[in-house]
Symmetry: C2
Subunit: 423 residues, 2 copies
């Protein structure tokens, strides 16, 4: 079997953990598997390097602002971003070389390959590069020699040989792309949790590990706080039919398989329930109900790179409408200021904000074919006296916004009400 | 003018120093020069990375021993050495990217190039690679764009794209090789001293900075404790006629030019006097005076990679000879043990060792044409009552071994006796 394994930063955070990974790799090879391992930087290393860069420019220019995957100086030029990628990519080079040495040290054959060596070709979008293709010639050669091939995750090179990075969590993307290019039997994401749960076990003790999940379900859960896998890597796995497995790097327990949809999967009504706490709500009452006016609101948000999640618009009376939408809590102030500056071409709407909210989402393939999931969810919430402020639905997901004080209660009510608990 | 500058680890040790280098680079470009900058890793970074690797293998294998440029595990395989180079080369990548950012930040154009990007092609001798050639296509392209090209020193890639390092001090070699390949007008080595002195100013306060020195003189001085420049980089500069300049990175004082020999250089009898403290002496009395026997001694040293410096052999009486040689003090115990194990094919010689010695060398092109330098040196030493234990001479150098307690006295006597002092 050809296996691609990805070890996250917490799995290679110390030399002792790296030795542990090396022993696991050796054991896997002893079972007869061929192994490609993708590693992230040791925990904290990427942030250390970014802090160096940030501190360097901070004294002569403004302190950086949060934007995209990096904290970058306000003076953000392509030249600067190129250097940042060159700098930050060294974190994964270090952990890859150390893991290769550790495998050699326990008697295995191993070689580390960095972006240029492993043929990971990307475009030139520094800090968020897209993979264009992988030249697997060398990878195959090293595998044929019987080596564990330890790949530096998160990085590639563009056509001119410049180092690019794939964005935060890009090592997952590296692993899935390598699994697709090598036609690997499975891509295992080894991390500090042992799989995907029906909900957050810290909030709902009866939460149960899900043995098997479809890509679509994982995508809805990943975007919602079950932060086990980068959404982009799940999309990539879905596109190329790569079988993913999420499991812990600390022991041999089986994890969660994420695979193409299978016929029996729809028999499960709800697979998981997720809670997202860091949401905030913006409400505009009395927006002129004229084509193009609502667009102004969301154009203003897009210009600030503020991600808008749920949007509700009620057709109004008197030619005026009400609009409510949610943004990340950290962006609420910027969002409110931007809204205040919008010219609506008439009397301004009344703007209110509320950061004391949270969002709960119910995900499951079974919703497609079974009616009444929404009704049952509302009943369960009502039974506990929880008021629903907003609702949005997709084919396999229902999300509701409630006051933040009811978040955990709602999560437990839905989790147990849909019988997701153990046993 | 096309200038190659090399900044050592102490010149980029902190972000503040990196900013300082950036300002100097900008000023140089403002003068109309085109600039290629070679950087070492920030002080301490290379050792930090080596310590990581060493600690990783230390628990399962023996702790590393000093050998060559690295401290490497006893389990020293080519595969391990490859990973060590991959690991250690990241130190220079980090400082190069940071310096490029800093130059951009003060309004300059800059790009960093690492081994593979700057076309530095080497053989596959990990940890001590030789440069085979430099493909300067990209370097020229970036220079034509008006960029300061910041090169990661100390590293290259072999034919298969694997990262190699040039050995400790390899950044000097990188700089000289780049200057040669680009036909640069000058290669400036910027460091924490402001030039090459007639002797160690901490010992002899009247020591004077030498404005101009030939390669040959620098080679004799570099190998002797004036540890400003790697001997290998001076050899390379000599081979390609690269004009070197050693100066400080902290201010604009002119440094020492190291250039091809010029006709008037021989008018200076002695250019410098150097003291080497870390020497030790091994004496064998009664070595069988048979062909091949003395070779056994030095074969034993070579097998342990012990560098033997001075060798004196006296043709003996009764078919037996006396042999004296010097080794680094740190190798004295290993050397003595190895000598004790040599089979001389007859009665073993008496072996004595002495680590309380030091070596003083007088260097100058003028010795070639002026007789009597040795005689004058001995007179100067005798006048201060200093006994000479060993002597060796080359065309432009005289070295003497004296008791270590007389080292500084001898240095001052020779320095002032040959009128090297200021004024």
């Amino acid at each position: 079997m050809l296996v691609v394994q990805k070890y996250g930063g917490s799995s290679v955070a110390t030399l002792e953990l790296i030795r542990n990974c090396a022993l696991r790799c050796r054991a896997r090879v002893a079972q007869g598997d061929r192994l490609v391992v993708v590693v992230s930087a040791m925990s904290g290393e990427t942030n250390r390097l970014i802090a160096l860069a940030n501190e360097l420019v901070a004294e002569t220019h403004r302190v950086g602002v949060t934007k995209g995957p990096y904290v970058v100086s306000a003076k953000r030029t392509p030249e600067h971003e190129r250097e940042l990628d060159q700098l930050v990519a060294t974190g994964e080079v270090v952990s890859a070389a150390l893991l290769a040495m550790a495998i050699q040290d326990v008697g295995g054959r191993a070689i580390s390959l960095v972006g240029s060596q492993l043929g990971m070709q990307t475009d030139r979008s520094f800090g968020r590069a897209r993979i264009l293709g992988i030249d697997v010639t060398r990878l195959h050669r090293e595998l044929e020699r019987g080596s564990v091939v330890v790949c530096a995750g998160f990085q590639g090179t563009d056509a001119s040989g410049d180092v690019t990075t794939l964005g935060r969590g890009g090592s997952d993307t590296s692993a899935v792309a390598l699994a697709a290019a090598l036609h690997a039997d499975v891509c295992e994401i080894l991390t500090d949790v042992d799989g995907v749960y029906t909900t957050d076990p810290r909030v709902v003790p009866s939460a149960r590990k899900i043995p098997r999940l479809s890509y679509e379900e994982m995508l809805e859960l990943a975007g919602l706080g079950a932060k086990v896998l980068q959404i982009r890597s799940v999309e990539l796995a879905m596109r190329y039919g790569v079988h993913l497995c999420v499991r812990t790097s600390f022991d041999d327990r089986p994890g969660t398989m994420i695979v193409p949809e299978e016929p029996d999967m729809e028999s499960v009504l709800v697979s998981g329930v997720a809670l997202e706490r860091n949401e905030a709500k913006v409400t505009l009452v009395g927006v002129p109900d004229v084509p193009g006016v609502v667009a102004k609101i969301f154009t203003a948000m897009a210009e600030l790179d503020i991600v808008v999640d749920m949007i509700i618009q009620n057709a109004g009376v008197d030619g005026r409408a009400d609009v409510t939408f949610t943004v990340p809590q950290s962006e609420l102030d910027r969002a409110a200021k931007a809204i205040a500056a919008v010219q609506f071409g008439g009397p301004s709407p009344t703007v209110t904000t509320d950061s004391e909210i949270c969002k709960i989402s119910i995900v499951g393939l079974g919703m497609r074919t079974h009616a009444g999931v929404a009704a049952r969810a509302f009943s369960l919430l009502a039974a506990d006296g929880i008021n629903v402020q907003m609702v949005s639905t997709s084919e396999i997901k229902i999300s509701v916004v409630v006051h933040e004080r009811y978040g955990e209660l709602a999560l437990r009510a839905l989790h147990d009400g849909f019988a997701l608990g153990a046993g």
